[in-house]
Symmetry: C2
Subunit: 549 residues, 2 copies
């Protein structure tokens, strides 16, 4: 059995290791275009920023180990140029000499990854414009930061904001340009508004809703010309506007490729040619929550797919269950995490959904060091089935998203989250964990006990002719409130019912939604048509910030 | 509707708040024996230790708020003495005056909690012997630490070890006496061995497998006489050897009470009298994994049960699904977490189970600050259904146990954990999260790809006549290895097969099990009868430490 693997990073390396564990005889050849197979590409921004001090740290499995331990025939600085499916051969080019040779295969695994997208705009190929894909790129970018003073990052996704943090860490004046009106497009805009503020607070110049239209060499530097007409000067530019599946080989070999460029595979990772598998960033996968095709360039799924391809080659029925879009990104002491569908995806797909916001602490408030997080839960308004979750904050966001990820995998509802028994000690959580709280709140909505209104409706002027009732204390109200609201503190609400008209709907709110919920219950039991503004004033300020850009 | 609630902490307070949210008319009377309803009892050790500086922090809901916001009739320093079920009345005593009066109820909710157990040994009532149940106890203990130099803690459960940390924090010479041969009896012994070492490293004198048989007044101090004959002098003693359900009222009222003392309730929290509910530490619940009755004195379940009782009173069908034994405890910068069944419970119940150990990092090793954790997963050896998990370490233990808790709630198998899509960025996790790793390893065992042996068998001398093969490097081997093992480093294993006899079983091991797994695969494919020592040398040292006590 001759297994030939194109690409030696996450998916390719996992496939190779798994294949060797299943077979002592198989010849396993791994062709890697770069100098290093199996490196930690998610660490590159932190290597450039200096948090990861040694480049060696990024070499997950040194070549020698792959050769000795896994008996892999690892060939670096070589590129597979074409596939002859009839002959089951590939044409390989040695990048340093230009020499070409052919190699046969019984099974071929394509794990070529995805390439940073370079838009076809004037000046795109000027020196000083970098992308970040492999260790050589990281080395070049690290070198570019030496002595540099100003950098421009094009693209505010994962790598864009990680690079922003790391370039600031390097002492550079950093600008970030993002076409959409928010950073981190997979998340909903209001959820990442605090991270945009964090970037600004740390000195990053954010240009949201703008894009680069031209790069010009000006003296030693580069001038970035933007769609808005503004220009930014930089010593170098980082392009991080997304990646495109590396499908050249697949297209040339006439394998099925999806409209958006991902190589199409079945659940065993087989392409339209049963002897050719494809894994990782180059393929299209199915989102298990929505059932729609997506591309998810992330290491976890790539590793899993690599294992599955190797399993299937050796007669095992392993299947990839699809992706659920779990992701996380750190930004200084904060971060954003998500799993499942965002609200914008629910809207795009025309799904019937409801949402709740909350701002729980990462651990018990009475124990020192608690910080609050913003959480958004999307669910089916009738069955309560979980559709997705987003968590943004300082601590404990990874835990809550991982718990939601498992709940989503299991097909749980928000009612199940009410009943979850999670670990509580004051350093770690709360007797009512944020997950339970999310369950309580969302289940209350499903059961009709807790009607909610949303700041997104308020800001879009869709909540007209309501009494907007601020049930916080007069001090909180004086420090900042939603325009048009009236202050009736919760603890005197029962005595002030006469001042609240019963002939039009009431929208109650507090700081985060807890007192607003109690106010809603009190007014409901008094016969009012009342809703609680989900997430309270805190979510309102996030929504307002997101809408003002 | 007149609802009378006995006890105003977790379960009682939750029931009261929920009842008010469901009804504006109900009269809700809460009788609390102490001075403060709704206080954070899990914070008391940290208040005594000074980590929580202000006592006010522990008052979750001040009485005034309960009265104004929830319109509760809160009566503190009062005790319910008896129940007249026929008349639906209770007899209440005012503790400060001794006065007694009766109060009627439509529905009665018993939330009296559990009382620290005081063994009937000589001197148990001497001054200077404290238990920790309410804020007055915490105040007394905090006062006792002033000017004291030596303390003895009897009992090494949650509160015992939390008190040990906090008394050390206060500068006291602290001894801890625990009857069983390990601290934290709900966990398996080998898993908490590192925490026992931590206690010793921080200066706590551990007396495991010993117990107090007498307390004597000696001058200003107390002498603790132990079963072993040893004695310890102390300025004061903390008794934390467990709690007993407070069932006096229930027994007097002839409600059904289980053999072990817990009040018996149905899924709606009703006792054998349909108008009397019971919640929290005083009741017996069902373990959902094993189906057996247990007592779980924890705040999370108590809160949930309180809500359910109130729901049911107002005609809702809410049910308590039972407990799964999720728990966590911190100890300085480390901690222990668990969910589901321990191995000792599996054994006691005669369950067919298998286990794996692993020692993954809390986040990617290439990103600074990663620490390793010890993880133990118990599962059905045929179906792979998850039975329980334990995680001990510095960081990320709460996250992994919460993920396991949800997986257990969902009835997932270890194969599901292989496929879990968890959040990965280098600060937060790994592309193959510890949960995925646990899934890979355990699934490999279920599928027969990865036979395992256990250090518990080795230490109990149940692995005789095997070749014990250390596949680590010669340097690691020289620094400490399992007695009787031979060193053949993994990377030369294929060349050294001649030196490994094929006619008897091989047990391979490395540091944590990863290289041992590869060695096992290599030898299996060569036709050996081979098993990997689960968790490697690291687990071996924990098992050896636990067996030597």
């Amino acid at each position: 059995m001759m297994i030939l693997i194109v690409g030696g990073v996450a998916g390719g390396a996992s496939a190779a290791a798994r294949a060797r564990r299943l077979s002592k005889e198989a010849e396993i050849v791994m062709i890697e275009r770069g100098s290093h197979p199996s490196f930690a590409n998610c660490g590159m921004p932190y290597y450039i920023g200096g948090t990861i001090e040694s480049r060696n740290k990024l070499l997950v499995s040194p070549i020698e180990r792959l050769r000795n331990r896994y008996r892999l025939d690892v060939r670096v600085r070589e590129s597979v140029e074409s596939i002859d499916r009839a002959k089951k051969q590939v044409l390989i080019k040695r990048l340093d000499t230009g020499e070409e040779y052919t190699e046969s295969y019984d099974k071929l695994i394509l794990a070529p990854g995805a390439a940073p997208f370079k838009p076809p705009i004037p000046g795109i190929d000027l020196p000083g414009i970098y992308t970040l894909r492999n260790l050589e790129d990281a080395d070049q970018l690290a070198a570019a930061t030496e002595g540099a003073e100003r950098a421009v990052i094009i693209g505010g996704g994962f790598i864009g904001i990680e690079m922003a943090e790391n370039l600031v860490h390097r002492g550079l004046e950093t600008s970030l340009v993002e076409l959409s009106p928010q950073i981190l497009p997979p998340w909903d805009a209001e959820m990442v508004a605090p991270l945009e503020q964090l970037l600004r607070d740390r000195g990053v110049k954010l240009h949201l809703g703008d894009s680069a239209t031209e790069f010009r060499q000006v003296g030693e530097g580069l001038e970035v010309v933007m769609n808005s007409g503004a220009t930014i000067m930089a010593d170098f530019v980082v392009l991080s506007i997304g990646v495109r599946p590396e499908n050249t080989l697949a297209v040339k070999a006439e394998l099925d490729v999806a409209e958006r460029g991902g190589i199409q595979v079945n659940r065993h990772q087989q392409t339209s040619d049963a002897d050719i598998y494809a894994v990782g960033d180059a393929i299209e996968v199915t989102d298990v929550v929505s059932g729609t095709p997506v591309q998810i360039p992330l290491a976890g799924p790539a590793n899993r797919q690599g294992r599955i391809a190797a399993d299937h080659i050796f007669g095992r029925a392993s299947q990839y269950r699809g992706t659920q879009g779990t992701a996380i990104v750190g930004l200084w002491d904060q971060g954003a995490a998500m799993t499942g569908l965002s609200e914008k995806v629910c809207q795009r797909l025309g799904l019937d959904y409801e949402k709740v916001y909350l701002h729980p602490g990462d651990h018990a408030g009475y124990y020192p060091g608690a910080t609050s997080m913003a959480m958004k839960i999307l669910f089916d308004p009738t069955s309560g089935k979980l559709l997705g979750g987003q968590v943004v904050g300082k601590r404990g966001i990874d835990k809550r998203v991982d718990v939601l990820a498992i709940a989503l995998q299991a097909g749980m509802s928000v009612m199940d989250l009410e009943e979850s028994e999670l670990a509580y000690a004051p350093q770690y959580g709360s007797a009512k964990d944020p997950i339970n709280m999310a369950g309580f709140i969302a289940s209350g909505v499903v059961r009709g006990d807790h009607p909610v209104a949303h700041s997104t409706q308020l800001v879009a002027d869709k909540l007209q002719d309501v009494t907007l009732l601020d049930v916080r204390t007069p001090e909180e109200f004086a420090a900042g409130a939603i325009p048009g609201s009236t202050n009736v503190p919760l603890d005197v609400l029962r005595n002030e019912l006469n001042s609240i008209p019963k002939d039009k709907p009431v929208v109650a709110y507090c700081k985060v939604g807890q007192r607003g919920y109690m106010a809603t219950r009190i007014l409901m039991l008094e016969g009012y048509d009342v809703r609680n503004l989900s997430g309270g004033y805190t979510t309102y300020t996030q929504v307002a910030a997101a809408s003002k850009k």
